[in-house]
Assembly symmetry: C3
Homo-oligomer: 270 residues x 3
């Protein structure tokens, strides 16, 4: 066994047997490998959300294989790839649709990329619609068992991969234009803003969403936010999140995933 862990992220959901069947396939080929579910509740077809989840998690994942399945174009000519990071410390496998690009960039780039093209390692299948089961799961298991990446298909040039579609925030005329890039279970709203971008903005920051503006107080923990006020923390990813105390900032202020949000100091920066 070359790798002991497969971290598994998908948009398969837990309502159906998709995840369980993939695990069964893996377990049959690599019985001792441990499978860690990162999450399977990525919104259907939301490649961006999947890619951001991988970025937020990357520093904490157990070493091994990462199986990432958000694949609206399954069965088409879009490529299936294995991305080696850190000279083999870990291997990401998934579709070449931008899903793996941000976490690869975070790791400083791939040390090898291979197209999954060798059907000898796949299951026979009645149709091409569930490649997670028929191609990616067996390949993940065989990689754990020590099969060299080169066995699975031709090497690819990193420059040919589909790039990520991750939005960046930017300042214009003293106003920071950002996006709600993650709304978690609790309703916390993560922005694509790092603390350094607002270090001159002071402790009270005007948050504008649509036609509505609201002052958010910068706090360290959720519990410091007063009553029904809006708070702003450095979150567990090291980014800026809008929060309330024991409630949902997203629903209280009507913010949805992907919404544009602007930030500016309540007292103009001199």
């Amino acid at each position: 066994v070359k790798y002991n862990n497969i971290t598994f992220l998908s948009d398969y959901g837990l309502k159906d047997e998709f995840v369980g069947v993939c695990k069964s396939v893996i377990r049959t080929i690599a019985p001792e490998v441990k499978i860690i579910d990162l999450t399977h509740e990525i919104a259907p077809f939301d490649i961006r959300a999947g890619s951001l989840t991988l970025v937020r998690s990357a520093n904490y994942l157990a070493p091994g294989v990462v199986l990432a399945m958000v694949d609206p174009e399954a069965g088409t000519s879009r490529r299936a790839i294995a991305v080696e990071l850190g000279e083999g410390e870990s291997v990401l496998i998934g579709p070449d649709n931008g899903l793996l690009a941000p976490v690869t960039a975070l790791a400083g780039g791939a040390t090898r990329i291979v197209q999954l093209a060798n059907a000898d390692y796949w299951l026979g299948a009645p149709s091409p619609s569930f490649e997670g089961r028929d191609m990616f799961s067996p390949v993940a298991a065989h990689i754990c068992n020590g099969v060299d990446l080169g066995e699975f298909g031709p090497e690819l040039d990193a420059a040919t991969l589909v790039p990520a579609l991750v939005p960046f925030s930017g300042e214009k005329d003293g106003i920071l234009h950002a996006d709600a890039v993650w709304i978690d279970r609790y309703g916390n709203v993560q922005l694509n803003v790092s603390p350094s971008q607002i270090e001159d903005f002071g402790d009270d920051i005007v948050v504008t969403h649509g036609s509505h503006s609201q002052v958010a107080e910068r706090v360290r923990t959720f519990a410091e936010v007063d009553g029904m006020q809006l708070g702003m923390i450095v979150d567990s990813s090291g980014l800026i999140s809008l929060v309330v105390n024991q409630g949902s900032a997203a629903s209280r202020f009507g913010i949805a995933l992907g919404d544009a949000v602007t930030l500016r100091p309540s007292i103009p920066v001199e």
Copy 2:
């Protein structure tokens, strides 16, 4: 250890601790066994959905024990059974209510069936309402540990088991009458129709649901479906599914689980 894997399907959901408690019981008796969650989100009491999930998954399951709990009559005189397949290659355990019948038939019939009647292998319990925890989980663990099926109770005649209630499609006057037997997370609608049943129907097939008719184009992958059109694929189970491109066919066309759907060629077969 005789079996290393328990595949676990139920209608317990993940909201409560039901699944976790069953796993704790199994782990206490058989610490090294691996438990693979097939799904726990079968709709409450939906025996048919549970049985079809097992059929769709059967070819991919890791060898071992299958624990299947959709049991509206828990605690009554309905029987609890263990069904041996393939001379011991795998063992299904669950209630005798039709849940296990289709997958048993798919496997070519049972090689042995035993009624779970020997309370020596059960946990003591304050009530008969959670037999998944108190009877089925410990029995599953003991089977993995090598206890012979004969220890759990008397052998049963297969002819006495409760049969499955799975709907079949059929043709009448050139029209194929089918049922929506599965609607998955993405809204794909699986019909109880195999490709051979529509091989003379051509590439454009008229799908009728209630008073509404729609032409579906036969395609190979989701991504080939044009715009807002309805497509028809051979799905990952080898059956016919109604699909749309990156959306829900079920919600776009108002199809619910169990609905009747008819298919006919758009150009009549000569």
Copy 3:
């Protein structure tokens, strides 16, 4: 390895990567430990629901560490604790907010309590908002690996812990005043009433909820309840639950979690 199992309960949900990231952290430090998900769908911030889930499950848990995360005050001065039960048979870790108190009481009290204060065992973190990942998960893994509890911080006096907030039922003028303490996936309504409290109430019991009264029949199993009637069983926790046959008692009778419910005999006790 001192403990092989970590039982994991939280209000993290499965939509986000919170649970997967915690497991990744644990797996990296203690690769062989098995993690059993009790449930992660405790309602956000619902300490009471989490504590009652632990109580219901306690008799069935695999020996080892219990990681319990319902922590609305994460990152504040509320204490983080490890509670040793049975001279080391198991160790509970979580916030000192009442979450662990009922299960500790059920076990006859703690044999040792330690405050998690030694940051040598924590991960570095960009913010204090995800202590489940940064403090509790690594501590759980290190406890499994055999690090003595005394290494994690100073011993605490049990009398200083935050008490539980669990409601008790009580009788007044022949009427038992109770609470709906759990509504499960099926809609069964568990009351904080034990069978002994209603042993003189007879087989037909008047259940009053708000301005609505209904006679419930005492039955042994769900399937014995007639048609649309309300039934009352001794449930799998040994408590009294209101049930219907293959349906939701909660939705049929409009009962929500935490609602007050009274019980009295339909024929007054003499």
